[in-house]
């Protein structure tokens, strides 16, 4: 089994709902985003590329790519980040992480890993989201877990469920009949930084 995502960039409206759903489900600290909606061309977020009136904007939702050949897991000295061969999920164990940040240097996908540089704080003074979502610890690295706590219960990741444009799909890429496999069979797709050799499990169609 190899779980992965398909993101339909033609449908994505750049609403950041998946980013927020992720934040809520996983009780992310204030400054942490595991899933970010990036735009290209402009100097800042949501600024289109090109000269008016010939402008374009591309929304690229980016979370951990749960690579088939992850760069991060190889370099972690204590195995705090590791690939689950059963599901293809790249896990992150905050209790084990020694905070050496080897993985952050190794991962080619700029910014999918974040380190808790400060004591994690939350606007609300209670925990929100999944009861079994991971804890957040100061001075450890964290990232998208593919909502492994939900997947274990047979649910879809929170970001997929929440997307109002139905632009996110999730499923087993090894199963030729799964929705994700069907989409990438029919439509042209790209993978981020495919030439890095990490074999990302996120496919962008559109």
């Amino acid at each position: 089994m190899n779980y992965g995502f398909v993101i339909d960039q033609e449908r994505c409206i750049g609403c950041h709902t998946c980013a927020v759903a992720c934040k809520i489900e996983n009780n992310l600290p204030d400054v942490v985003w595991w899933n970010r909606i990036l735009t290209d061309g402009g100097a800042e977020m949501d600024i289109p590329a090109g000269e008016f009136p010939n402008t374009t904007i591309e929304y690229v939702p980016v979370n951990c790519q749960h690579c088939e050949n992850p760069a991060c897991t190889k370099v972690c000295p204590v195995g705090a980040t590791y690939k689950d061969e059963e599901t293809g999920i790249v896990h992150q164990d905050a209790d084990k992480c020694i905070g050496c940040r080897m993985c952050m240097s190794a991962c080619p996908y700029t910014g999918v890993r974040s380190f808790n540089w400060d004591e994690p704080t939350h606007v609300l003074d209670m925990n929100i989201g999944g009861v079994d979502a991971p804890e957040h610890q100061k001075h450890t690295v964290e990232k998208c877990t593919m909502c492994s706590h939900r997947v274990a219960k047979g649910e879809e990741p929170a970001c997929v469920e929440a997307c109002p444009a139905r632009a996110r799909f999730w499923g087993d890429l090894d199963d030729p009949n799964s929705e994700v496999s069907q989409i990438i069979k029919k439509r042209s797709f790209k993978q981020l930084l495919a030439d890095e050799g990490t074999k990302p499990s996120v496919y962008y169609v559109g």
Partner: protein, 425 residues
């Protein structure tokens, strides 16, 4: 010039005068007020550094300049730098013994002592960089043998133990307790270990496929050459200083020999740099960004200090007229500063060019200069350390100084009788 000739002339006289005292000196500790002051200053700085490190841990690492998109900083820069410095000493003292060629007079033990001190600093820099230093034990329990960091920890630990053992063996050898053959075997092992340490440190960076600037096969040999440059330069500085204060006396010919060696190493290092720049830049793709960032971009000051400094160093080392003691020391310092600049280029350069050239939400933990916005965060150097980091860095460097000075004070690191006799011939 007059200075130099008189120093050269004075040296042999010193030697013969010292030989008799050597035996006594060897066991008694060496006394000097300057040394005591040095030890106290280093001690205070080390304690201050530890206090600041405690602050960094109990407060948090948000007090450093490091952020998610530039997740290593001053500490790892100095880690690389000190691993490099530690090489020279061990290599300079082991190469002559390993290959049975004539050495550099009696500086062998001082050189190893400098290696030990620098290795301790290198380990110290990794430790202060960790977010969870109390979990260090996990490295030995859950070791992921595939991780270059794990290799480095194993090799660095071995290197430290081996250096200490090697120092002991040399001292024992002088007292006739270790045979020539055993010392020679040990020298070969020490040499191999020194080369390993540098290659493995290079691989921490060079095996990271995600960073254009680091991912090159040349990085291993290049680290070894840089280590030779700054290690030799350090040994020259240390020996000159110890000569000045009268701790040891050494024939000028040895210094000249070291200087020539330094010149050769500097040239090899510059050659590697040129090869790397050409290979990166020639295809004109992403690698061209690396070249322009170095030559005319954000890292240009460090690039040019390195290139010019190393070139000047080579000129001094190769021109007999310029090889006076003060100039040799200046050349060595230029080489050390040059290599430090190279470490800075390498570390910051790895983060200066993001792989995913998209923009998104910024938070105080995204990037050092986040308030300025995406464009400005990358306009200058993407990372600059905070005063806290400089303080902790000083503390670790002082720790190395402390170890070295204590070695000078309590161990008999002066040339032993055998070598002394050799240098008299």
């Amino acid at each position: 010039m007059t200075d130099m000739t008189s120093a050269a002339a004075a040296a042999p006289i010193n030697v013969s005068q010292n030989t008799e005292q050597q035996g006594k000196k060897a066991s008694a500790s060496w006394k000097s007020t300057g040394l005591t002051v040095g030890i106290i200053v280093c001690g205070i700085l080390t304690i201050a550094g530890i206090a600041l490190w405690a602050m960094q841990l109990s407060g948090s690492m948000i007090q450093t300049g490091m952020r998610n998109l530039d997740s290593w900083g001053l500490y790892i820069t100095f880690f690389m730098f000190f691993v490099g410095l530690s090489a020279g000493g061990l290599i300079i003292s082991s190469v002559p013994k390993a290959f049975g060629i004539k050495g550099f007079g009696g500086i062998s033990k001082v050189a190893i002592m400098s290696s030990i001190a620098c290795t301790i600093a290198a380990i110290g820099f990794v430790v202060v960089d960790l977010g969870q230093p109390t979990r260090i034990w996990e490295l030995f329990v859950f070791s992921n043998i595939g991780s270059p960091l794990m290799w480095d920890i194993i090799v660095l630990g071995t290197y430290l133990i081996l250096s200490c053992f090697y120092l002991w063996a040399q001292m024992a050898h002088e007292r006739g307790r270790v045979s020539d053959k055993a010392l020679r075997v040990l020298s070969v092992i020490a040499l191999l270990c020194a080369v390993m340490v540098h290659s493995v440190t290079a691989w921490i960076f060079g095996l990271q496929q995600g960073r254009e600037m680091w991912h090159t096969a040349l990085l291993g040999p290049w680290f070894v050459s840089s280590a030779l440059v700054c290690g030799t330069a350090l040994v020259i500085c240390v020996v000159e200083a110890l000569r000045k204060v009268g701790y040891l006396s050494l024939d000028q010919a040895y210094i000249v020999k070291l200087a020539k060696l330094l010149g050769a190493f500097v040239c090899v290092d510059l050659y590697f740099f040129a090869c790397d720049l050409l290979t990166e830049g020639f295809p004109g793709a992403h690698g061209a960004d690396v070249v322009s960032m170095l030559v005319s971009g954000q890292l240009a000051p460090f690039f040019w200090i390195e290139v010019v400094g190393c070139a000047v160093c080579a000129v001094i080392c190769f021109t007999p007229k310029l090889r006076t003691n003060p100039l040799i020391v200046i050349a060595s310092l230029l080489a050390i500063v040059g290599i430090l600049c190279k470490r800075i280029q390498l570390l910051v350069g790895g983060f200066q060019l993001p792989n995913l050239d998209y923009v998104g939400a910024l938070s105080p933990q995204t990037i050092t200069n986040w308030e300025a916005g995406w464009t400005d965060a990358y306009a200058g150097m993407v990372y600059w350390p905070t005063p806290l980091e400089f303080g902790v860095m000083l503390g670790v460097v002082a720790l190395a100084g402390l170890v070295f000075l204590l070695g000078i004070k309590f161990l008999a690191l002066q040339p032993g009788d055998k070598i002394q006799a050799e240098s008299e011939k």
